[in-house]
Amino acid sequence: MEFFQHFLNALQFGSFYALIALGYTLVYGVLRLINFAHGDIFMVGAYIAYFVAVLLLGGEGMSGLGLTPAMTLAITVPVTMILTSLVGVTLERTMYRPLRRKGADRLYVVITALMAGLMLENGNLALLGASRKSFPELMHKVVWTFGGVSVTNLKVVVIVAAIVVFVLLEFIVSKTKIGMAMRGISYDKFAIPLMGIPLDTIIVFTFILGSSMAGLAGILYAMSYPILEPYMGALIGWKAFIAAVVGGIGDIRGAIVGGFLLGFIEIGVVAVFPSTLRDLFAFSVLLGILWLKPTGLFGVAQTTKI
């Protein structure tokens, strides 16, 4: 029984890793840019969801519109995704794009992303203060117990959402025109504009897609772990990045597999060994995987022609 419980736990937490890893991988797939601010965009997403929900629902000292929780949830999800994608696009337009135009080394853009993340975290701390926010309950929690295994309806929603998002993204990237353009850019950034495809539009679209996923993950995360703080995105962001790379960065299937894999490894280590050894063992396993498969599980080795 304990095994099934751990299995379900791993599925749920893996879903969060997977959802965030998808954002990393989308941007990376197109721009070869590790968007280290992504974990913090996820945090901003959770905060946006909080403010939208409180505004609609009322409470927390605000009068609000007094909508029902279900209505609030229905409105919060799209609004948060839109607003969060705006944050992502703003970062791209004000910080990454100018650097790209100047022909800066890829790693300078990465460092800029790191700095942008720090700014989001600490800006949030400075503006909203150190008090944590408690996310309102938007979904009446139901605990189902089957012979010692407990599941909440929220857990099911999270797992289903991760799978739906994966299917949707896989469809967009492999079947639609804009998805093909995205894949095209990752092969050859210079040829794509010559084919009459607007490079910047595609890049902005990628950021919209990636950041809105972070926003969605933010809402689901805030509902599952209803305590918001400015640094909540930092650790999970790093770990999701690791998941994306272990899966094979740039590949959507890789992000999903990597995310679930990390969830299973972390929870598996805790389940079998003393939990104090979790980080030690989990990261050793990941290191071992990369040792054996140097380009991740789904990554294709770059063949160099000479």
């Binding site: 100018p98 700095m115 942008a116 700014m119 600490n122 690791i242 104090t276 050894l277 980080d279 990554g299």
Partner: protein
Amino acid sequence: MQKHTFTISLFAGIFVLTAMAQFGVINQYLVSVIMLMGVNIMLSTSLNLVNGYMGEFSCGHGGFMCVGAYVSSIVTVLLFSKNHILGAPLLPPSLALFAFPLALFAGAAVAAVAGLVVAIPSFKTRGDYLAIITLAANYIVISAIDNMEIIGGPRGFMGMNATVNGMEGLLDIPWMLLWVLFGTVFTVWLLRRFVSSTLGKGVPAIAQDEIAAEIMSVDTNRMKLIAFMLSSGLAGLAGGLFAHILGYVNPHSFDIMKSTEVMVMVYLGGMGSLSGATLSAILFTVLLEVLRPLEIWKWVVIPLLLILLMQFRPEGIMGNKELSDLFPKLKKYYSFK
């Protein structure tokens, strides 16, 4: 004669700084800032070998620093402090002066060996995959120390002051400042000698075209081994000094945040420039201290400044140039090889 001007003025500078600290011309706070500046210079120049010269993306430098800090601290504590492992100190405090560099060396050596964890996978993998390996290495080091009860685990480890006191008992001068200054000069000197030699130029050759390098007789695996081990060894040296400056170490002082800071210093200075890494380490340390009064806003302003700087100079302060490339007149005085 002119060729030696730089070396002479360097040692004169160290002497003057130490004397100023000794006679209270600069207060202890400034001395402490200067010492941390030295440590930061060591960290950023050593990471520059891997991230700048070799073009890899190592984001776990803090882990190696941690190894060096703990190993050298354990050695000095075993030798000179009353401790719960061996009880009484093994050696009289008067020997601290001679044993301290050996302890630092031990820390650096173990950190260099720890560098193998990253160096060996680097034979097969590159870029972002290697970045994850370095990141994982950082987590593994911290988590391992958290689990080692005998050296305090998350409670940290202390007792290094006895060694510093032992040195001061022999002769009452600011020894730690002196050691840090020597360590900094040693690090930059070592790296400078390495990267200016034909052997060392194999490292940027790997960054620019690894296949050409291998086919043009550069043993790329050996070069990677040297670069990673040298880099992590020097980080270990910096860690040892850091631990003895504070007199206390805690594994969580060396987490991803520390590694991030070092990375920022490297890219801010310019990939492949030792003078750039030095300048940016100084700038960064000073910025951190000068902006203290901003309190919470400090960590909003610093990233903002760095972002602006990178927009303004997308190749870092120095690009891949050294000071002597930009001011050729300096070459006359510049024999820091």
